[in-house]
Symmetry: C2
Subunit: 306 residues, 2 copies
């Protein structure tokens, strides 16, 4: 019955306790799905990439938003797992030699370095479909119309109108030195912001809240931290050494990618992250104490060193 516990008492916990609790919970849900996969190699590669020390930022955003609206934990498990599966598939495909050509991810060899490129493509594909399978199948007191809404929000954020388009723009026009800041923002919103912003909406959708004001306020919060997160990522790529970063430092420079810090310098980039963070906090200020974990999580995301 612990599963049915409302998240309202979560606001008494520290951010560290919250992260620990829900990261463990997420891994338990994953394990339910991985056992019966009929290809041993596929199962192994899926486990390798899902349990490799990721920060679980996207699912944690979902759980923290759900906390505000007292969403049942089992409901939150559904988008939390789906989004982490989508994020993991996208990292596997991004790391491929034909994309960013990265050998390291979270301090370990990337999927294609361990399992080969063909299996890495398939592992990404399998995680991608599993995300959709969990939304349609996972046992929880979540009605069909909510599942359909979640599928809509998630597919809009990660498909050809969101992340996939952002990635396509990333590999086709991000080497263009004449790129404008506004276009760069658009690409960042597509490739990174859309999925992060969707997390906040998915957390709310897991509850009974149907207040449009909440929806708009959370969207503004999500859009701000989504954009800030990508700029922070660019800063870390310049400032943090490979060993701490867990992935190759200066990969943007190596791939000749235009980034916000490259256009405006590191100082202005850091100021922009802080300004967006403040804007995000203001958007949800009215939510009071119940949104405290979400605020702290946003701070954690934007002050991270890896």
């Amino acid at each position: 019955m612990r599963d049915r516990k409302s998240m309202s008492t979560m606001t008494e916990r520290t951010l560290d306790e919250f992260i620990q609790l829900f990261s463990t919970r997420l891994e338990k849900v994953f394990s339910q799905y991985l056992d019966d996969i009929p290809s041993f190699d596929l199962k192994d590669a899926m486990e390798y990439t899902l349990y490799n020390g990721g920060k679980r930022i996207r699912p944690l955003l979902i759980y923290a938003t759900g906390c505000i609206f007292d969403a049942p934990w089992e409901n939150l498990d559904i988008p939390a797992c789906s989004v982490e599966l989508i994020h993991t598939y996208s990292l596997i495909h991004d790391d491929l030699p034909c994309m960013d050509n990265a050998d390291l991810r979270r301090g370990k060899p990337t999927c294609h370095k361990v399992y080969g490129e063909g299996m890495a493509v398939l592992t990404g594909d399998a995680l991608h479909t599993l995300a959709m399978q969990i939304i349609s199948s996972h046992h929880a007191p979540l009605k069909a119309d909510k599942r359909v809404q979640m599928m809509k929000v998630l597919s809009n954020a990660c498909g050809p109108f969101g992340m996939a388009a952002g990635q396509a723009l990333d590999i086709t026009i991000m080497n263009d030195e004449t790129i404008s800041t506004d276009l760069l923002y658009d690409i960042y919103r597509l490739k990174t912001g859309a999925l992060l912003s969707a997390c906040v909406e998915l957390g709310r959708l897991s509850s009974n809240d149907d207040d449009e004001f909440n929806q708009h306020a959370l969207k503004e919060f999500g859009d701000c931290i989504g954009l800030a997160f990508q700029i922070q990522d660019d800063i870390l790529d310049v400032e943090t050494e490979t060993e701490l970063l867990g992935k190759p430092q200066n990969i943007d420079l190596k791939n000749n990618k235009i980034t916000y810090p490259r256009l405006h310098g590191l100082i202005q980039a850091k100021e922009k992250v802080q300004a967006l963070y403040q804007e995000a906090l203001e958007a949800i200020n009215y939510l009071g104490h119940k949104a405290q974990l979400l605020r702290e999580l946003a701070g954690f995301m934007l002050q991270r060193k890896r």
Copy 2:
């Protein structure tokens, strides 16, 4: 209002008329989704691969099954588009150099030959998500619980418990000369049969039919033609020249793949296809005249020369 026309009158049409009508219809639905994609290159690559003369066998199976149960055409458009998107994404990824390394598909250069490998990976990913987006978003008189059921059937057929696992087994153990016929069947069912069989179920789910006997009979039909289709594909790889086949002949031999014809010879392979076809027909014999298009479509699938 033509869209709301019941499919019952379809049984008066010839198979050629049926194929022409619904292939055109499918392409019109696709075009609604492709126009607003924010990356020009991604949109272009998605169009290139979606409109390249594919036989549309999977969506046609859905429409033909829907015909039996008088499903509304707009309902059928949803799984028909989704399945063709999934099939197309899987072909793009299969053709990659790290998988089958095929330069030709349907007589034209494969996606990665035209757009590069990175864009081909992303194009597959975008089509994959769009399939899910259409199930959750496409306007039709299809209730949320039916959409969720469709998502469940489709993701089970194409994810780590279906097609993706079959592909993983294909690249990991299909070079093993000691492979048994039963294991080969299992792999064929996963990599090819599951999605074809799902089509028949998705056609029925688009209607109001809730008869378990129909569900089981159609599953048997789908399983038989799914397995037969892959064996027929193996036969064509041996017998049909590249020019007619539209993809490189003998690619299985080149990739040292074990196939049914390689284990049992071409004559036995052809007999197996015919036996499975007869078994499929028997399973749906009781459906009478209304299933005539589905029968003819199965015949077309298993007697094709490319």
